[in-house]
């Protein structure tokens, strides 16, 4: 099962490495991870996506909660929440017309274009699938999830 975990982390030397290291040490693959500043300059917000059965994820959440730098941690999957992801994609110019009506085109040249799309992670997947049907996709950069309880 897919789990979405949100962590408020103190900005300390090595804090991010300790969170990532804990997941690695306990055998978890982090599917996606976003880290960014919050309004409070002392803290950052992390959003993680991991796959695993509920009991195992509950244990990793409890272990993460023991990290001294963690201010708070919550599993959003079981709660009301909103989640968004951004993708920037470079593709062959043949896809330009379709992209123009389904995404925001950021640059276009005679053989390659770059567009951005944002939405639920499933919509991002779908957008990329549809685009690939219409044009060769050269590069994809996904932001990972940004999520909050709602």
């Amino acid at each position: 099962m897919r789990h979405l975990i949100s962590i408020l982390l103190q900005n300390e030397a090595g804090a991010l490495a300790r969170v990532a290291g804990l997941f690695a040490a306990r055998g978890y693959n982090i599917e996606s991870l976003t880290v960014a500043a919050t309004g409070d300059e002392e803290a950052s917000r992390l959003s993680l996506v991991v796959y695993g059965d509920d009991a195992v994820v509950e244990q990793i959440v409890k272990q993460s909660r023991k990290l001294v730098d963690v201010i708070s941690i919550e599993e959003l999957t079981t709660r009301q929440h909103v989640e968004r992801e951004l993708v920037v994609v470079r593709f062959a110019a043949s896809g330009l017309a379709w992209a123009n009506s389904h995404a925001r085109v950021l640059s276009s040249g005679s053989d390659q274009c770059v567009a951005e799309f944002s939405g639920h992670a499933d919509d991002v997947d779908e957008f990329l699938t549809q685009l690939a049907i219409r044009a060769t996709v050269h590069d994809v950069a996904r932001s990972g999830l940004a999520a909050l309880a709602s």
Binding site: E12, G14, R18, G21, E42, K62, R65
Partner: protein, 623 residues
């Protein structure tokens, strides 16, 4: 690094005599160590920690005691692993935070094993490591190692102090984190320029660490409600065969008395984990000694028979439960108290649990039970336990012409009677010590439980002797384990510590051979040391031991051990034991208790017909 200080309201009530003074970072380190009440430090010097070492030297010179002794003696080991295990031995024996100081790079990486060992056994330790100057971090400078990253994966917490103004608060916070909640090691990595920077000493203040403090407060301040107490006793009432399974948490939390009073008030037998040994007097009639892979047969059978199991500061470790689904198969209730929320239900789902401190929780439960007139009669269960203890008692080959290790331990125990501090290496000798020694009090049994680190015994004994100069400290070691930190023999004599070292020499890695016999058809790959040339007695003599002997005559066990323990200074005894002596009982890896192998000298249930389990309480009781 967070420079903001946490300033509790009553701070002005006690102003530090040096508050407001301009001190170097190095002097700040030493002042905080002194403020934390330390009376001994362990460490090895080097370029990146020199300012701190100099500050210790000056501190000791300026603050010499009336009797000429130093207030913060710095004990120098053979290497940094030794220093940190000494500090850990000091912490285990005293209950206080131990402190070690090491240099950057190799000094700090030598500290990794003991730091991990302390995390795994929940031992409070602060390691202060020098680091290359801030400007050189990340340049592959001489003796640079990424200590905050390396230790981040091993320690309870790590600080890399890049701002000298936060050093004092960081150090105080390190001690707070090491000792609070579930204790553990904290590493403070201090670049050399930070040690040399002059700052204003505040004399108080810690970092906010808001998440950690809030969580701890929530745990410590959540009392056991009346309703939860009632639930607990309702489940206990429905039980006719309750059993307490106590772990290291009892010792960490100073809950020995609370556990004894609880067990005695309601008549619950107690088995402990390897880490819990000493948390309950092993000579008490309700004591079942250790459970698990090499637990006593009677403790393991009692676990198989119980219908209610009460886990206290114990974490259902794989060496205890074997196969989780088959652990305590008849238990209808699993109750659990732990200070660490992550341990609740981690391995076995708990039917009743409380996250909190053990001592207060047990006192609360006991008071509730007494106030509500809880009475149960477990005399049939006590009788059953009594039968298990006599039928399946520990035993060994008493006719053998070779010295049996168990007999050596029994001989020591007849003199020390459960009051000496015993440290061990890792292997068969460790398990024999756990099984055959009595422990009447907590903090007398020092062993690397979770990590199982060979080489722990000797430095831990040294640290313990500094913590408890009033007690007999004995390192019961293996011939292979002691080799790992053999350099520390010299440390014993350098400081003229009356530590007693016993090596149970079975000419090799006995525990490894035991597994190779069982699972690799007796192919002793790399575990036999019969071609090794070391003369342990000469080695001890060379390191200055005034009493060093080899014992190989079974008839001389009693007299030699009496002399050995009676010797006033450091003493070393090598005992040539039966190399085939095994550790029994044994619950093999992946096996359940019912499949326990008891060996040739301990009765198994397969041979002794089991009496039917008591279900009805009979009228007489032990309490």
């Amino acid at each position: 690094m967070n420079a903001q200080l946490d300033t509790p309201g009553d701070i002005s009530s006690k102003i530090h005599p040096r508050a407001g003074q301009a001190l170097t970072g190095a002097d700040v380190v030493v002042q905080v160590l002194a403020d934390e009440g330390l009376d001994v430090l362990f460490g090895y010097s080097g370029g990146a920690i020199l300012p701190v070492y100099d500050a210790i030297f000056r501190h000791n010179l300026e603050n010499l005691r009336a009797d000429g002794s130093e207030p913060l003696p710095l004990i120098v080991p053979a290497n940094e692993q030794g220093a940190c295990f000494m500090a850990a031995g000091y912490a285990r024996a005293s209950g206080k935070v131990g402190a070690a100081l090491v240099t950057s790079g190799p000094g700090a990486t030598n500290a990794v094993t003991p730091v991990r060992d302390c995390t795994a056994d929940s031992i409070p330790l602060v390691v202060i490591s020098g680091q290359v100057p801030t400007a050189s971090i990340g340049t592959d400078a001489f003796q640079e190692a990424p200590i905050s990253t390396i230790m981040g994966a091993c320690a309870k917490h790590v600080f890399l102090v890049t701002d000298a103004s936060a050093l004092e608060a960081t150090l105080r916070t390190a001690f707070y984190i090491a000792r609070s909640g579930r204790p553990g090691p904290v590493v403070v990595d201090i670049p050399k320029d930070v040690q040399n920077t002059v700052v204003t000493f505040e004399g108080a203040g810690e970092l906010p660490v808001p998440g950690y403090r809030a969580r701890l407060r929530a745990i410590e301040q959540t009392p056991l409600s009346d309703a939860r107490c009632a639930e607990f006793f309702a489940a206990l009432k429905a039980s006719s065969r309750p059993l307490i399974y106590a772990g290291g948490g009892i010792i960490t939390d100073g809950a020995r008395d609370a556990l004894r009073d609880f067990a005695h008030s309601f008549g619950l037998p107690v088995t402990t984990t390897l880490m819990g040994i000493g948390g309950y007097d092993t000579t008490d009639p309700l004591a079942l000694h250790m459970l698990g892979m090499h637990g006593t047969a009677y403790a393991n059978y009692a676990v198989d028979d119980c219908d209610f199991i009460f886990a206290l500061g114990a974490r259902f470790d794989d060496r205890v439960v074997g196969v989780p689904d088959k652990f305590a198969p008849l238990a209808r209730t699993i109750a659990q108290i732990d200070i660490d929320p992550a341990e609740i239900g981690k391995v076995k789902q708990a039917d009743w649990f409380h996250t909190g401190t053990l001592r207060t929780s047990l006192e609360r439960l006991r008071a509730w039970g007494i106030a509500h007139g809880f009475q149960a009669n477990y005399s049939a269960w006590h009788e059953h336990i009594g039968q298990l203890k006599s039928r399946h008692r520990l035993d060994y080959d008493r006719q053998s012409a070779l010295i049996q290790p168990y007999a050596v331990i029994e001989a020591i125990n007849r003199i020390t009677r459960g009051h000496a501090i015993i440290s061990t290496g890792v292997g068969q000798h460790q398990m024999w010590s756990a099984q055959y020694f009595d422990f009447c009090e907590p903090r007398r049994w020092l062993t690397s439980g979770s990590m199982g680190t060979m080489g722990f015994g000797l430095p831990a004994a040294i640290g313990a002797q500094f913590a408890r100069p009033d007690l007999v400290v004995i390192d019961v070691d293996g011939d292979a384990s002691i080799r790992m930190n053999l350099g520390e023999l010299e440390t014993v004599t350098t400081y003229n510590l009356p530590v007693k070292v016993v090596v149970l020499n079975n000419v090799g890695d006995g525990m490894v051979r035991q597994w190779q016999k069982l699972f690799f058809k007796g192919r002793f790959s790399a575990s036999d040391k019969s071609l090794h040339k070391k003369d342990f007695v000469k080695a001890a003599e060379a390191d200055g031991f005034g009493w060093a002997q080899r014992l190989d005559d079974p008839a001389a066990i009693e007299s030699t051990i009496a002399q050995f323990l009676a010797f006033e200074g450091p003493a070393f005894l090598e005992v040539m034991i039966d190399p085939d002596a095994g550790v029994y009982p044994m619950v093999g890896p992946g096996a359940c208790y019912a499949q326990m192998v008891t060996g040739d000298f301990i009765a198994s249930r397969d041979e002794v017909p089991a009496a039917p389990l008591p279900t009805v309480a009979s009228p007489t009781g032990m309490f």
